[in-house]
């Protein structure tokens, strides 16, 4: 099957919508009245991570946005920017800007958000253990490695969703035999 690339007009439309949604998303997470929601979400990730660690036999207690090892008193804080919200905004902006039905977009937003935050949970737990092993490795993984991987993951999540959207559209438009 021949592939037809996106036309400049479609790319411009996508780009404009993406920028609008991107800015709107970041303004929404920046305004003070959404702060309790974002902070509450960060606390819930910490609680979930601590529960998962205990479930697997590890030691961790959640104290608001801090996760502490009761044995060593090592603490890691889920700061704003580490909670996966930033990449979620990027994903949401891309999904909303992409030409698809609202039903498909909602499915993409839900599944994509779940995928990103699952990776972020793994990231947070890995940083918790890495921080107890080496502070310098923790800093490197925290600031550079995991953030870079999260960005690539977000692009792949969007790409996978866009592929399924196109696939379902081409099946819907396939001629009946």
């Amino acid at each position: 099957m021949a592939k037809s690339g996106p036309t400049p007009a479609h790319m411009v439309r996508f780009l404009v919508l993406f920028c609008v949604c991107f800015l709107t998303g970041f303004i929404l997470i920046f305004v003070p009245w959404t702060r309790p929601l974002v902070d509450g979400y960060s606390r819930s990730i910490v609680s979930l991570a601590a529960a998962l660690i205990r479930l697997c036999g590890g030691k961790a207690i959640a104290l608001s946005d801090l996760m502490r090892n009761p044995g060593t008193n090592f603490e890691i804080r889920m700061a704003n920017g580490c909670n996966g919200i930033n990449v979620t905004v990027l994903l949401w902006a891309a999904v909303i800007a992409f030409p698809a039905s609202w039903f498909q977009k909602i499915k993409g937003l839900a599944a994509g958000t779940l995928a990103i935050h699952s990776v972020n949970l793994v990231r947070f737990i890995s940083l918790y253990y890495l921080g107890q092993y080496s502070q310098s490795w923790f800093e490197f993984a925290h600031m550079y490695l995991w953030e870079s991987l999260m960005m690539l993951d977000t692009l792949v999540v969007f790409w996978t969703w866009a592929y399924f959207v196109r696939k379902s559209e081409s099946m819907a438009h396939a001629p009946a035999h």
Partner: protein, 206 residues
């Protein structure tokens, strides 16, 4: 070899991120920071104010000392003048010295390894080298721009120059500058330059 282009991109991209970050951290960071510092000094000279006062040097610990020129309207502002004793006013303050921890330009130089990883993870063609070079130049400019914006933000914070809505806007832009630009800009640049990758993602967009 995985069949899906998405999985292939993810695996190749993740491996490249690790390799590029290692090369960046162990070999390229110092020369990149030197280049960025020199470019930042040149960019500061182009800022409004007395460009001759601009400078960007590195101290023995690797931290940067920026001499940032102040535009005339900032020098004359109450925020600046109230820093001095009333009998000494009006005071001319052509530039401000700003200490920048090495971690800050290091973060902004992350755009290089991340761009190279994202660019090389996509489909490879005869034009790949061309957009690798073009993209490196673009992320270089983004990196210098981010450092300049950081300097402007820090000076604003030190002088308490902006207030109200203007202060909210500058805080918002600095949030994007520190938490979004270093990570998103290189991937978006790779996507913007690599037509084949873009076509794979957006194929049959109609």
């Amino acid at each position: 070899m995985p069949a899906s282009p998405q999985l292939r991109f993810l695996l190749r991209g993740s491996a490249l991120v690790v390799v590029m970050l290692a090369a960046w951290w162990l070999l390229l960071l110092d020369p990149l920071l030197d280049g960025l510092r020199v470019s930042t000094g040149m960019a500061l000279q182009l800022m409004p104010g007395d460009g001759a006062t601009a400078d960007a040097v590195s101290d023995s610990t690797g931290n940067w000392i920026l001499q940032v020129p102040l535009p005339g309207f900032v020098q004359r502002s109450e925020a600046v003048q109230k820093l001095f004793k009333p009998d000494a006013r009006p005071v001319r303050l052509p530039s401000l010295k700003l200490a920048v921890a090495r971690d800050v330009p290091t973060l902004f130089s992350l755009v290089f390894p991340l761009f190279w990883a994202a660019a090389l993870a996509g489909p490879f063609g005869p034009r790949t080298w061309k957009y690798l070079l073009a993209g490196t130049a673009i992320v270089y400019l983004i990196s210098v721009g981010a450092i300049i914006f950081y300097a402007v933000y820090m000076i604003d914070r030190n002088l308490s120059y902006t207030s109200g809505a203007a202060n909210t806007v500058i805080n918002f832009l600095e949030y994007l500058n520190m938490y979004v630009v270093p990570y998103a800009a290189p991937v978006l640049t790779a996507l913007a330059l690599n037509a084949e990758l873009r076509a794979q993602i957006f194929t049959e967009l109609v």
